[in-house]
């Protein structure tokens, strides 16, 4: 697993926040980013930039992520955002029939103001969405998320348990995959061939044993669970009870009010 984007322990507001409420909050902030379409205008860039700055401030203060960790976790997305910005800036005139203003021209390359604005807007939107995802992943413990989904979001416990089992199997899957790859290497089947189809064949030959071992495990686990009466009752008892704090509710309600206010603002000023 990439260490930069996995849960870390800390004593922050977001670490203590209920995962279900955190998800609702992230959806609300995403709506903020998507409410106004990215247009090739200066105001559109400013709009996305303000939302991005707010998200970064929240990540650094309320989540205690830290600047270095934030940059590390975003290191994969920043090149993507830059690539889209360059692409939009260079090829905007070829992707639209709308009029445009040239910033720089050289042969078929036409850098336009509109392309730069749209590219920056889209790049910022990518950074907003990925920053929100990072906030969630870095501050949410998988076990607590499943418990919250079962207790707060009322997810049926059989489904919740399935989710929990899948998460529990992550390290085992890693281990199994490593063993299979090593077994392949010992037999001379490795990563020496770099063609697409040879890589796909390699994927197929590691996926089948992985799935077969998974099916064997599923048979054993399901027999053990059935013999212990899993699913015999519609409700089950809980050891770790999840209690939603009032701060979480208030935080989400305030964000909701801000969103409603923002929608009215956009409608009233016809922005």
């Amino acid at each position: 697993m990439r260490k930069a984007i996995v849960y870390f322990k800390a004593n922050s507001f977001f670490h203590k926040m209920d995962p279900t409420f955190k998800m609702i909050w992230i959806i609300l902030i995403s709506i903020f980013a998507f409410l106004k379409n990215v247009e090739p205008t200066y105001s559109s860039v400013i709009n996305q930039l303000i939302i991005y700055i707010i998200v970064v401030i929240i990540a650094l203060t309320l989540c205690k992520i830290g600047f270095i960790r934030y940059i590390k976790s975003m290191s994969l997305f920043i090149p993507t955002a830059i690539f889209i910005l360059i692409y939009k800036a260079l090829f905007y005139p070829y992707t639209t029939t709308k009029p445009f203003t040239s910033f720089y021209e050289l042969s078929f390359i036409k850098i336009t103001y509109e392309g730069l604005y749209e590219g920056t807007g889209v790049a910022l939107r990518i950074l907003i969405l990925t920053s929100l995802s990072m906030i969630f992943m870095l501050t949410t413990e998988p076990k607590r998320l499943v418990q919250s989904l079962m207790q707060v979001a009322k997810l049926p416990y059989r489904i919740g348990y399935t989710l929990y089992t899948a998460l529990r199997f992550i390290p085992l899957t890693y281990e199994e995959h490593k063993n299979i790859t090593n077994a392949h290497l010992v037999r001379g089947v490795g990563f020496s061939k770099i063609g697409l189809f040879s890589k796909l064949n390699l994927l197929k030959s590691s996926v089948i044993p992985l799935l077969i071992s998974g099916i064997r495990k599923a048979q054993d686990v399901s027999i053990a669970m059935d013999s212990r009466g899993f699913g015999a009752y519609k409700k089950r008892t809980i050891i770790d009870e999840i209690k939603v704090r009032n701060q979480d509710r208030i935080f989400v309600i305030i964000t909701l009010f801000l969103l409603i206010f923002y929608i009215f603002f956009l409608i009233y000023y016809k922005i």
């Binding site: 697993m1 990925t130 059989r158 697409l196």
Partner: protein, 189 residues
Amino acid sequence: MEKERKKYYFSTFDLILIAIIAGIGGVINGALMYTFIQPFKPLFIFLGPISWVPLSGLYVLWPIIARLLIRKRGAATLCGLIQGFVEMFAGSRLGLQPIFFAGMEGLFIDIGFELIKDKTKLFSSLLGAALANLVADEIYFFLYKMTSPFELSVGGLIAILSGIIFAGLLGWLIAKAIYNTGIIKVGNP
């Protein structure tokens, strides 16, 4: 106990199998697929920001396998949703989004399987995979504003082909290989 268990649509074995397939899929999609796909991106550089689309079908592989092995409606959707969660925690670069995308892919795979009912399940797999990959990729295009006619049309066409080859056909072959080992004994896919 037996009487009680029958009221559930998915048996305990189905659920655990979904969890394991989603777990494997989530780990491979979230942590390994990105590095697997990167070396091939320069081959499709002429596609610009949609150079990832030709191999995007690989992301749809797992719910197809789940649907072929479990053979129940909704298996792909449930597998997709759980895979999305695992993908997120396995270090996916898209964070929360895999839950939505993988769930959507699973749903369209189930729809594809309901549209064609062939005995071998090959055509259902191909249709489900093509539909799922097309819908997921087009949503992705709109989300990241890759909405020029070129991106939408050419990207859509490549998404269908990628879904058919890397998810539908590959998924079907993998499921067939698993049935051939005799570990699951419910006919052939």
